[in-house]
Symmetry: C2
Subunit: 257 residues, 2 copies
């Protein structure tokens, strides 16, 4: 590995030393000085190179780890994380449909497919009666063989039953709904927030408890406005990113109000 | 407070008891049985009511806390979180512009406004030379007096200088750019992911280290496509949500490929 440039820290700056070091290391990770999956220098080496204490180095590395730029392997050292996979969500697409274009392999592991009583929330979204039967599908989605998201999908029972014979391992539900079942999808409403991984996510996504999760609540409609597919998508924060383009003024007629 | 309905858990179900309990409590929080800021029953009370062990109760509550639905105050008990504020990002708007319409008060605290050397990342996004001077603005944004996000903005120096006299406490930068400086904003590119709060965010947003953060990287362009405003927005995961509508087929001409 080529020796990294070592810009100097400014001891008398109002910006704390660990913050200066963090910015320098972040820049070097993003510009490829430290390539993905390479091992970072040890705390001692970094301390010597930048002439700061080990505590300062540790705080900078700690912050970069929280940001998902580096990860630690016990007894092996600190490594640079791979760039996050991203999905462009400027149009409504399934994960395989979107990532497949970028050359990623998307495979799903079916965790469960069952009929459950609609909770009040599911019932309200799908405009059915609370407690009436709906299909619930839980899938783990693997990008290049690594678990990236858990997706929980609720469908009206008659639609769910049409999916029972479908290939849920390699195909997006959107494409099955359109191509096999003949529904035309229209728009989806999304809510995006950040939560921490709890027990089930920890286990399935192979991450530590308390890891960051990007959570998407998504309600998809047919083109006549009927809600057809309600989901919670849980993405590993360290592995995935949504990208989109937003216009200052909408030029289409999609948005009401 | 009215006594909550207590649906029964199913001991022989393949779904673990804590998971069943979690789903019931989540439903009761979302349907208003337990209103925002109300105190939840103690672990003992819940254990008795649902005939499960205290460990089961604790795991269910632990998961709901990770999801941001409840929070604990040491020595006082467990409380229901307020519903998250949300911003509709189907069109490009500043926080005050968007939340003001919903009746929220948005006030900003200016943390710093300075001239810095453009990092390679900032330089690349703003299409300027690395190391050349740019304006860096750090603002804490308070919704109804509570800190909700930290926003770090980089602007080309000549534009930053025009903002030095502007009212950054009550106004969005977007509106200042448009109304005071005469720029027409066009579109923005966003990347959304989830990270954990590190030292600075912990301090400014008044949250615990390791709390979930929804992070937005946003590059805003004028209507002729010139990048003008590059930002990192850090939202408290427990307090904020992005909402948007996505169409299966774009009907406008905004998106290239």
């Amino acid at each position: 590995m080529s020796k990294a440039k070592s810009p100097k820290l400014i001891p008398l700056s109002p910006v704390p030393l660990y913050n200066q070091l963090k910015e320098i290391l972040r820049g070097q990770i993003l510009d490829g000085t430290w390539p993905p999956l390479s091992r970072m220098p040890s705390e001692n080496e970094l301390g010597q190179r930048f002439d700061v204490s080990r505590i300062t180095v540790r705080q900078a590395l700690n912050d970069l780890q929280k940001e998902g730029l580096i990860f630690k392997i016990h007894g092996k050292g600190t490594f640079v994380a791979k760039p996050k996979a991203f999905q462009n969500v400027s149009t409504l697409q399934g994960l395989a449909e979107s990532l497949g274009r970028q050359g990623y392999e998307v495979i799903n592991r079916l965790i469960s497919f069952k009929t459950v009583a609609a909770s009040s929330q599911v019932a309200q979204r799908l405009k059915i009666k609370e407690g009436s039967p709906v299909s619930e599908i839980k899938r783990l989605r693997l990008v290049n063989r690594e678990p990236v998201s858990l997706e929980v999908t609720w469908l009206p029972l008659d639609i769910g039953q049409q999916l029972e014979k479908a290939d849920l391992v390699t195909r997006d539900i959107f494409l099955i709904l359109e191509n096999d079942c003949g529904y035309n999808l229209g728009h989806a409403e999304l809510a995006i927030d950040a939560i921490l991984a709890e027990s089930e996510l920890t286990r399935l996504l192979k991450i530590e408890e308390g890891s960051p999760i990007m959570r998407i609540e998504r309600l998809t409609h047919t083109d006549d406005g009927t809600p057809i597919d309600y989901e919670y998508l849980y993405y590993r924060g360290d592995a995935f990113q949504y990208r989109l383009r937003i216009d200052r003024h909408r030029t289409d007629s999609g948005e009401k109000s």
